[in-house]
C-alpha cells in the first residue's frame, strides 16, 4: 500500500468571484514525481497557491499526509514562480538559500553551523557553488531558478511543490536537476511539479494531473496522457464553462453554500 501525500476535495477557487478552479477532487500517492500540466491560465499556479494556503479557497478542503497544512508545514516545501520576487533585492545566492533553513523557532537567532552546511550542500547540488556569493540580480533567469530550487532542497522536506522550476533552465541543468529529483523520489520523497512542456512531461513524470479549470484527469502518466484527455484539456471545448464563469462573476452569485467549506 502506498501513503497518500496530497488529498484534495471539492476545491473551488475564485478570483474576484470568477472561478478559476472548479470542484477539483483528487489525491496523489507519496513517493512519486508528479507533473501538473495544463494550458496557460488553467489554474496550475492557483492550485499550488491554494494548497499552500496563500490564497483563500471558496470551498473544499485539502489534506497533506492526511493532516491539515498547519500540522505538517515543516515537511512541505514550495518553490514559487520565479517572477514572484524582486531579483534586484540586495542579497547573495547564499543568503537566499539559507532562507530555506529559517524556522519559526530560529527566527531571532543566528543559523547553526549545520544549517549553513545544509545550505551550502544545496547550492552544490544545483551546481551554483561558483556563484554562491553573487548578488542575485547578476544571474541569468535559469540560474535564478536554480537558486530557488536550492532553497527548497535546503528545507529537507518530504513533499515538494514546484511551480515551473525548469522555466529558462538549460538542457544540461535540467538533466542534472531531474536526476536530483529522481534520487529524492527513490528516497521516498514526493515532488509535485507544474510543468509546461508536454513533450518532456511524459518522460519526466510517473504520475500526472491534467488540469484546465476543472480536473481532466489525475493518475498514472500512461492513463492520463491519452489523446482524448489532452484534446479535452487543450482543445477549445471550454467555451460553455467559461461562459458560466462570466455569468457567476457578473451576477455576484455564490458558487457554493458556505457551510460546505470544511471537512464534513
Amino acid at each position: 500500500m502506498s501513503l497518500t501525500a496530497v488529498e484534495i476535495h471539492n476545491l473551488t477557487v475564485t478570483y474576484d468571484r470568477r472561478p478559476v478552479l472548479w470542484d477539483i477532487d483528487f489525491s496523489l500517492p507519496a513517493g512519486h514525481l508528479i507533473g501538473v500540466v495544463g494550458p496557460n491560465g488553467s489554474g496550475k499556479t492557483t492550485l499550488l497557491k491554494s494548497i499552500m494556503q496563500l490564497i483563500p479557497s471558496s470551498s473544499g478542503y485539502i489534506r497533506l499526509f492526511d493532516q491539515p497544512l498547519e500540522e505538517v508545514r515543516h515537511r512541505i516545501s514550495y518553490v514559487p514562480q520565479r517572477e514572484s520576487v524582486d531579483w534586484d533585492f540586495p542579497v547573495s545566492v547564499r543568503q537566499v538559500v539559507r532562507m530555506g533553513r529559517y524556522r519559526r523557532g530560529n527566527l531571532l537567532r543566528r543559523l547553526s553551523a549545520q544549517d549553513k552546511a545544509l545550505a551550502d550542500h544545496a547550492i552544490e547540488q544545483v551546481g551554483m557553488t561558483a556563484f554562491a556569493d553573487r548578488q542575485i540580480s547578476q544571474l541569468s533567469g535559469g540560474q535564478q531558478q536554480r537558486v530557488f530550487i536550492a532553497r527548497s532542497l535546503a528545507q529537507e522536506a518530504d513533499l515538494y511543490f514546484m511551480d515551473e522550476p525548469f522555466a529558462g533552465v538549460d538542457a544540461a541543468s535540467e538533466d542534472a536537476i531531474l536526476k536530483l529529483l529522481s534520487s529524492m523520489k527513490e528516497a521516498g520523497k514526493t515532488v509535485v511539479i507544474v510543468h509546461h512542456d508536454l513533450q518532456t512531461a511524459r518522460s519526466f513524470f510517473d504520475w500526472m494531473v491534467l488540469l484546465n479549470t476543472r480536473l481532466i484527469k489525475a493518475g498514472v502518466t500512461k492513463e492520463v496522457f491519452t489523446s482524448q484527455n489532452l484534446q479535452e484539456a487543450y482543445g477549445g471545448q471550454l467555451t460553455i464553462l467559461s461562459q458560466v464563469s462570466d455569468l457567476v462573476q457578473e451576477k455576484d452569485f455564490p458558487i457554493r453554500e458556505k457551510q460546505y467549506r470544511d471537512k464534513p
Partner: protein
C-alpha cells in the same frame, strides 16, 4: 565656532537626539525602500499631522508622549484606510495612497490653522511639525524621541532576518509558517514610529526624504543588504547632525529643507559617482569600450595594409589608413596618439606611421580573433560566409584569452578563415 565645541549641554542633547532620529528613520526606511513602499511612507508622514493636532487639542498640552500617541494612531488609521480602499474598490494602489495623503494632510492643516487662531495658551511652536525645527526640542522631547529611536534600532537588530525574508519573499515566509501578518504589522508600526519621531527634525512635508533617500542612495554603493543598511544609517546620522547645526546657527530657519538639501546632495553624488551602478562609472566603461574598439580597429588596418605585400615594416600616412577603413579623422588622430603612447605605433624616419614589434603582435591578435570568430560562426552556427564579417567586427573586441583558447581547441588551430585569409599566429615579423 561655538556649535562644534559642544560646550552647551543643550546643543549636545539636540545634536545627539537629531542624529538618533536620523539613524532610526534611515534604518527603518531601508525596509520601506526594499518593499517598494516609498509612496506609502510619504502618505503616512503627511497623515500624522492631524493626529498631532488632535492630540494637542484633546490634551491641551505639548507633552511629547501624548503627541507621539496621536501621531501613531493617525499613521495607523491612514494605513488601514489605504488598505481598505485598495481592497474594496477598483481603485489602483497609487490612487488610494494619493487620496489618503491629501485628505489627511488637508485635514491636518485645517486643524493647525484652527489651533493657531484659537489663541490657546502654549500653542506656539506646533507649526514646527510642518517643516521641522530640531533646536526647538526641549529636554523631555529629546528623551522621549531618543528612547523611541533606540527602541526601533533594537527591534530591527533583533528581527533583521525575519524582516529581510518578509521584504524579499513574503509568500515563502508564510509557507514556512512565519507569522507574516505579525511581522508586516511590526514593519508598518516601526515605519509609523520612525515617521512620528523623525518629524521633530524634518517635519511632515519632507519626512519621506529622511525615510527613503538614505536607503536609495546607499543602494547605489553596494549589493549587500547589511552594508546598505550601515551606509543608510550613516547618511541618516549625518543629516541629523547637519540639521541640528543649521537649527543652531540659523534659529529662524526650519531645519527640514536643509536636511533634505544635504540628503539630495548625498543621493546625487551616489547616482553620479558610485562604482558600477553610478552614472560616471557606466559612461567611463562605455568610453573605454569605444576607445578599445577604435584602437584595435586601427591596429587591424595597419595589419591589413601590410598584408597585401606581407611586409609589415613599412610606414603609412593617415590618409592611407582612412582609405582602407572609414575612420573619422579626429578620432583616428586621437587613436594613433594613444597607440603611440602605449608604444604600439611609432613614427619612422620618413615621418610615416608604422607598427612597432609589440604593435605587430597586438595587431596579429586582433586579426586572429576576428578570423577565428568568423570561422566559428560559419562552421558551428551555419552562417553564410558573407554574413559573418559584421558580427565578428563587434565581438572580436570582447573575446578574452580564455575564449580564444577554447575557440582554437574547438576549431583545431585552423589556418584559414571563411574568406580564405590566413589566420595569423604568434610569429616573428618577416
Amino acid at each position: 565656532m561655538e556649535f562644534f565645541s559642544f560646550t552647551d549641554p543643550n546643543v549636545r542633547m539636540v545634536t545627539l537626539g537629531s542624529m538618533l532620529l536620523g539613524a532610526s528613520a534611515a534604518l527603518v526606511g531601508c525596509f520601506t525602500f526594499l518593499r517598494q513602499r516609498a509612496l506609502v511612507g510619504d502618505a503616512i508622514a503627511h497623515a500624522v499631522l492631524p493626529g498631532v493636532c488632535i492630540a494637542f487639542l484633546v490634551s491641551g498640552d505639548k507633552n511629547p508622549w501624548v503627541l507621539l500617541i496621536g501621531a501613531v494612531i493617525a499613521g495607523w488609521v491612514s494605513l488601514i484606510a489605504m488598505d481598505f480602499i485598495t481592497n474594496r474598490s477598483k481603485l489602483k494602489t497609487d490612487t488610494a495612497i494619493g487620496a489618503v495623503l491629501s485628505v489627511f494632510f488637508g485635514f491636518g492643516i485645517l486643524l493647525l490653522t484652527a489651533i493657531q487662531h484659537s489663541g490657546a495658551a502654549n500653542q506656539a511652536g506646533l507649526d514646527k511639525f510642518l517643516f521641522g525645527k530640531a533646536a526647538s526640542m526641549n529636554q523631555q522631547d529629546i528623551i522621549t524621541f531618543s528612547s523611541v529611536a533606540c527602541f526601533l534600532l533594537l527591534l530591527i537588530f533583533a528581527f533583521f532576518k525575519a524582516f529581510k525574508l518578509v521584504s524579499f519573499d513574503p509568500d515563502f515566509a508564510r509557507v514556512i509558517g512565519l507569522p507574516v501578518r505579525v511581522l508586516e504589522f511590526l514593519l508598518s508600526t516601526i515605519t509609523v514610529l520612525a515617521v512620528a519621531t523623525g518629524i521633530q527634525a524634518v517635519g511632515v512635508v519632507l519626512m519621506a526624504a529622511l525615510l527613503i533617500t538614505p536607503a536609495a542612495a546607499a543602494r547605489f554603493w553596494t549589493e549587500r543588504i547589511q552594508v546598505m543598511m550601515l551606509l543608510a544609517t550613516f547618511f541618516g546620522i549625518a543629516s541629523g547632525f547637519f540639521g541640528s547645526y543649521v537649527s543652531y546657527v540659523a534659529p529662524s530657519m526650519p531645519t527640514g529643507p536643509w536636511i533634505v538639501m544635504l540628503l539630495s546632495a548625498i543621493a546625487l553624488i551616489s547616482i553620479l559617482l558610485a562604482p558600477r551602478r553610478g552614472l560616471l562609472a557606466r559612461t567611463r566603461l562605455q568610453r573605454n569600450n569605444a576607445r578599445k574598439m577604435r584602437t584595435e580597429n586601427i591596429l587591424k588596418t595597419f595589419y591589413a595594409l601590410g598584408e597585401s605585400t606581407t611586409n609589415w615594416q613599412q610606414g603609412f600616412t593617415t590618409l592611407a589608413l582612412q582609405e582602407k577603413r572609414a575612420f573619422q579623422p579626429a578620432k583616428l588622430k586621437r587613436g594613433i596618439s594613444h597607440l603611440r603612447r602605449k608604444g604600439l605605433i611609432e613614427r619612422n624616419k620618413e615621418g610615416l606611421f608604422q607598427l612597432t614589434p609589440s604593435g605587430f603582435t597586438e595587431s596579429q591578435r586582433v586579426v586572429r580573433l576576428h578570423r577565428l570568430w568568423e570561422l566559428y560562426l560559419s562552421e558551428r552556427m551555419n552562417m553564410a560566409a558573407d554574413h559573418v564579417h559584421n558580427t565578428a567586427e563587434a565581438i572580436e573586441h570582447i573575446l578574452t584569452p580564455e575564449v580564444e583558447q577554447a575557440l582554437l581547441e574547438e576549431l583545431g588551430h585552423p589556418i584559414q578563415d571563411p574568406h580564405q585569409s590566413i589566420i595569423p599566429y604568434q610569429s616573428k615579423r618577416k
